[in-house]
Structure formats: structure tokens, C-alpha cells
């Protein structure tokens, strides 16, 4: 609860034109926003341009923004997303590119799994990668927003204009694939020690 209160007062200070509060907001969020932008389009210069516009507009419109933004991170992410989309729409080449690189999941297995170096474990990991890459870009983005950016299911649904059930099903798919990859090696491991 304390965190929430201090955030809100930081926001209020920012709205009153407090440059230090603005600097703190910037420092707190810029790296995560950049991370999102890079997963969104993998174009560093474009992401930085959009971030610059985002923070400039934020400062200039500070008095007109809502005083009770409940989640600043959500607000900034959705604003960055709109800007990136607008910027990318102007660039036709971008949409013809394959979108495999965006929001690519890097799943990690616990250390005991890395000990098993046999063929079937390697095959399992390949299966996992295949299953995950079978997810669409939007689905991967939803997983990313929940797990990396800490948005709630509700917020993910709102930001992506998706039904909350779809968010849930998407994440369920990813976890299911991961579990499938996990369970067999775990079984092998148990056999080894039996």
C-alpha cells in the first residue's frame, strides 16, 4: 500500500511541474519501456524516437492528464504502443517483414534439467521452442505484458483489446508447453537416481 501512495504523490508532484519528480518517473520507467519497444519492433532508433516524444508530450500535457492514474506503468506502456504502431504504419516495409523476432520467449529450464544431456531432452527443448513459436505475435505480446511488465490479466486484456479469456487461454498454452517439456526429463532424472 505504501508503494501505491508514494507513486501517486510522485505523480501529483510531476503534475504540479516538479522536474525532479519527472526525472524520477523517467528513470524508473525508461529502461522497461525500451525493453518493450525493442521486443515490439527491434528497431532501437525508432524506439528511442518514440520514447522521446512520449516523455516530451507527457511533460507538456501534464496538467491535462488524469490526477488519479492507477498504474503509471500501464499508462506509459499503452501510450508507447500507440506511438510505435503509428510510427510503423508510416513505414510499409516493416509490415512485410516476418514477425518471428518480436516478443520471442526465452524459456529457461531449472538447473537439474541442464544436467541431462541426452538426445531426448534436447528434442524436448526443440519441441518446446516449436510449441512456443506456434503462438501468434499478439499472443506472445500478451504473455510478455503479464510476465515481464507485471500487468494484471485485466490490464493486458484492456491494452491489447482482447477478451480476458483469450489472455488466460494464451498463457495457459505457454505454460502447458513448458510443462510438457519439463515433465519427461524430470522423470528421466528420477530414474537415474533410483
Amino acid at each position: 500500500m505504501q508503494v501505491v501512495t508514494s507513486r501517486i504523490s510522485l505523480w501529483e508532484r510531476f503534475q504540479q511541474g516538479d522536474r525532479e519528480a519527472f526525472a524520477l518517473l523517467y528513470r524508473e520507467h525508461v529502461d522497461d519501456l525500451y525493453h518493450y519497444g525493442m521486443h515490439f519492433c527491434a528497431d532501437g532508433e525508432r524506439v528511442k524516437d518514440c520514447l522521446q516524444d512520449l516523455f516530451q508530450d507527457l511533460w507538456q500535457s501534464r496538467e491535462h492528464l488524469s490526477a488519479n492514474i492507477r498504474n503509471i506503468r500501464y499508462y506509459l506502456l499503452s501510450s508507447l504502443r500507440r506511438r510505435l504502431l503509428r510510427s510503423l504504419h508510416r513505414d510499409r516495409n516493416w509490415f512485410s517483414r516476418p514477425d518471428m523476432e518480436s516478443f520471442e520467449l526465452e524459456c529457461t529450464l531449472p538447473r537439474e534439467h541442464q544436467l541431462i544431456n541426452d538426445e531426448s531432452a534436447a528434442a524436448r527443448i526443440r519441441d518446446l521452442q516449436r510449441a512456443l513459436s506456434g503462438l501468434t505475435r499478439r499472443q506472445r505480446e500478451a504473455i510478455y505484458l503479464r510476465f515481464y511488465q507485471d500487468l494484471s490479466y485485466d490490464e493486458v486484456a484492456e491494452l491489447m483489446v482482447m477478451k480476458i479469456d483469450s489472455v488466460y487461454n494464451t498463457i495457459s498454452k505457454a505454460i502447458g508447453a513448458l510443462k510438457k517439456a519439463l515433465l519427461l526429463p524430470l522423470f528421466l532424472l528420477l530414474l537415474q537416481y533410483a
Binding site: K48, Y144, F147, S172, I175, K179
Partner: protein, 351 residues
Amino acid sequence: MAIKDYASYTAQELALDESFQQWVLRPEGGSRFWEQWRMVHPEKQADIQLAITLVRGIGFKSYTLDTAQQDRLWETLWEHIGEEEQHSSIKITATTKYTGYKSAWKYAAALLFGVAVSAGWMLLHNPQRAAPMQTLALRTAYGEKKDFYLPDSTMVTMNANTRLLYTATDTGRREVWLDGEAYFKVKHAQGQRPFSVHTYDNVSVAVLGTAFNINSMGKQVQVVLEEGNVRLDLGEASSNNNHELYLRPGEMLTYNKADGQYAKATVLTATYIAWKKGRLEMDNYNLADAAVFMEQVFGQHLVVSDKNLLLRKISGSMPIVYNADTMLMQLGKIFKVKVGRSGDDVWINGK
């Protein structure tokens, strides 16, 4: 949180649950529910473990905007804001409003004399433009440590009970007056605008893109250089009795306020900068050192009844808790002494 029948959940269902994910991903978030639940459901241990592995297993490639890039972006966007605000002639007034400027302090009046405070500091990014001088005053109370960014993007961490006054002139000269302890990470801009830190004890530090710690709290002034280059000016500037010397990274200057004697030594900088990260580094640390610490950070005066207690030395590291009583209790435990209070004094007795 709605009550759900978690006991019937499979590992996969647990891993899908928002509050479970939150517990795994942001343990600092503070809900104790899952820890308690885990204790009363020993039969679910395997499921919980698998669910944790699943939640943690989802990761994404990392991209980072490092501090230098963040600084560059910040500077660019301020330049743009500055230009636009100028065009639309929105006046930014009184930069002293900039931050938690809580109370007037003894030095401010003299230093502010004759200083016209008006337009915004973003103008400084372009020295050719006529930019009036601007000032900024910051302070921290006892038991408080704070990070600030100065208008030129210099990062400063102020220890407790510290006052700082910043001015920048139209020529781009940046000056800081410091009373207390602070760590500076100075932005090294292309124009090499001079940056200097003055203490009220005739010690000044001239800087070029550098990170250093300066402490003028006790009977001495200490300057510890972490990286970069500084020139030190010691003694009254007007007298014949002033000296100039240079520090290299890893060196510390100690200047005695009373007699003006000074010495240079090579030190482990991390020990002197640990406070910035909220840690107390203790290397052959005794109660006298602890007393200096308690005085500086909390304004508490420690009285040690038995001089033999001062012989106890310890080495190690602990987090600084910004609460005087908690900190005293921790120190009491480490030194194995009894701590009592009478008025503003804190008594230390053997056990």
C-alpha cells in the same frame, strides 16, 4: 483476494493463477498468503514446486538502455522541451521550487545574494543563448538518504542531515556548496563545463566527469575518488596558504578542519561509498566508529561508559535501516552491548 479452492488446483492451474504468479515473480510485493498456504498444505509441495518452475521458466530476451544512453535521451528531450516552451513563451519561474526545499538554512541567504532566479534550467544546455543564473537548494533530514538529479543530469546521493546548494551560471559554470556528505556522479558534457564542489571548510573539488564521495560532517573533510579526475583546492582561496593537489581513483584526501593539515591515502572506495547503497561496511569497526555514524545519520549522541568496550572491533557488513532505534538495536547485538537511552543521549554498557 477471492477465496478459491486452491487445494484442488493442479500445478498448471496454480501457475496460471494471477496471485500465485505475483507471489513467484514479485516476492517483495508482500502478500503472505502463499507462504502460509504452502505451510498448511504439505501434500501440495510437489505441485507448488512445479508451478514455481513453470512461472519462472517464462523469460524474454533482455534489452537494456544503459545509463549513458538514458542520459543522452533525457538531455535531447529536455532540449526539445526547452525550445518549445520558449516559443510558446511559457515562463518557468523560481527554480528553487524544483524540489523538497523545506527550510531556509544559514548559508543560503549569503550565497543567493545578488543572484537572479528566473528562467528554466533547460536553457543551460545551450550556453550561447542568454540564460540567467539559476540555483537549487536541497536538504535531507536526520535518518534520511535521498537520490537527486541536478539540472545538468549530475546524479547526487545525499546522506542524512546534509544541505546542498547548486548554481549554474550562463557561462555554464556549475558549482555546488555542500554541508554534510554526498556522492556525486558528474555528467561529462562535450563542452567541458566546469563543475566544482565547495565545502564550508576551505576544501573545494574541481571535477571533470567523475564519481566521488565527499564528507564534511565531522572534524575532517574526506574526499574519496571512485573514478575520473579531480583537482582539490585546499585552504582559503584568498590567502597565500592555499594548496592544489590531484586525486587518482581509489585515493582519499583527509583534511583536518581545525589545523588545515591534510593527507592522501589509498583506500578501498567501496567502503566509503557503501552508505549510498544503504549498507554499512565495517572493517575493524569499533564503537567509536559506530558513534560517529549514529551522530551523522541520526543526530544521536552515544556515550560509552566503559572505555574497554572501545577495544571491541568487528568486520563485516550490514544494511542501514533508516530508523535510529532499529539501528541501535542492531549495533548493540553486533557489539554484544546493552543500549539504553536518557534524553538525547544513548548509553552503551557492557553486558
